[in-house]
């Protein structure tokens, strides 16, 4: 369900995860799979900035911080994240590549 009340969400991704995404992307480009990879990353970015709570599946509660861990999937990537509705902020925990995409492993 798309959010329509408070504008876009800000995505906060750890720098090591961004570095991993770059490395996977470069590898995908060199194999000729760059387009699929970048399209997936674009799709995920769109979902995280517009409807993060409605898109990802809830996994388990994070009681100490009062959030819900979620997982979103769009081939060949999946992302684990939590959403703070008050701050309208998406905290990215990690990305992972699906096992059949270029033999890479998750971050």
């Amino acid at each position: 369900m798309a959010d329509s009340s408070g504008g876009a969400y800000r995505v906060a991704c750890p720098l090591p995860v961004l570095a991993q995404l770059k490395a996977w992307g470069a590898s995908a480009v060199s194999r000729g799979e760059g387009t699929e990879y970048v399209e997936a990353l674009n799709f995920i970015n769109h979902k995280l900035t517009t409807d993060p709570a409605g898109w990802g599946d809830p996994l388990y509660p994070l009681r100490k911080v009062g959030l819900m861990m979620r997982r979103g999937l769009h081939r060949p990537l999946q992302v684990h994240y939590a959403v703070d509705e008050t701050l309208r902020l998406v905290f990215v925990k990690s990305f992972a590549l699906l096992f059949d995409f270029g033999g890479e492993q998750g971050s």
Binding site: A12, L18, L21, I44, Y60, V65, F91
Partner: protein, 173 residues
């Protein structure tokens, strides 16, 4: 003037007087019998009334039994009514059914006790499972969640995906 006499030599007047006395006695006796018949009729009506009351009371008990036992008896109300009409006893059959129900009831009690024990055991299992889930959540939160410090750092230093997407889109194979 001559007077008529009967064969005993009594005059006609004397005969009539005697007949009159006999008839009066007969009337008195018949009146007594009539009184007795009226009393008997009254008794019959009273007994019929009592019989109806007893039948109604019996039906009430039967309905109470139906209510208390809440089962379908094989002896139906119609059968009991027929038995009444035909002077057939149904009490033995009724008691036999009660005994059979008692045995079923004892069996159900045993099953109920078993189920109660099983429920207690399952409740313990549920509590244990819930504790395990809570432990797993805590573990997940520890290894695959966010600590408050981590969230604070991400809020401050985390970056969007835009830069990576832009950079990768510019790469040529």
């Amino acid at each position: 003037m001559t007077m008529s006499h009967d064969l005993n030599g009594n005059s006609a007047g004397e005969g009539l007087a005697a007949e009159n006395v006999r008839l009066r006695e007969e009337v008195a006796r018949l009146q007594g019998e009539l009184g007795g018949l009226k009393q008997a009729e009254s008794d019959v009506k009273r007994l019929e009334q009592e019989k109806a009351e007893i039948a109604a009371e019996r039906d009430d008990y039967l309905k109470s039994l139906y209510y208390l036992t809440r089962k379908d008896w094989t002896v139906t109300e119609e059968e009991i009514a027929d038995a009444d009409k035909n002077d057939v006893r149904f009490d033995e059959r009724f008691i036999e059914e009660l005994e059979r129900d008692l045995r079923s009831s004892q069996k159900l009690t045993t099953e109920s006790d078993f189920l109660k024990t099983e429920m207690t055991r399952l409740q313990s299992v549920v509590v244990e499972r819930e504790q395990t889930i809570q432990s797993l959540y805590a573990l997940l939160e520890e290894v695959a969640g966010f600590s408050p410090e981590e969230l604070a750092n991400l809020e401050k230093d985390g970056a969007s995906l835009d830069g990576v997407i832009k950079e990768l889109a510019g790469l040529k194979p």
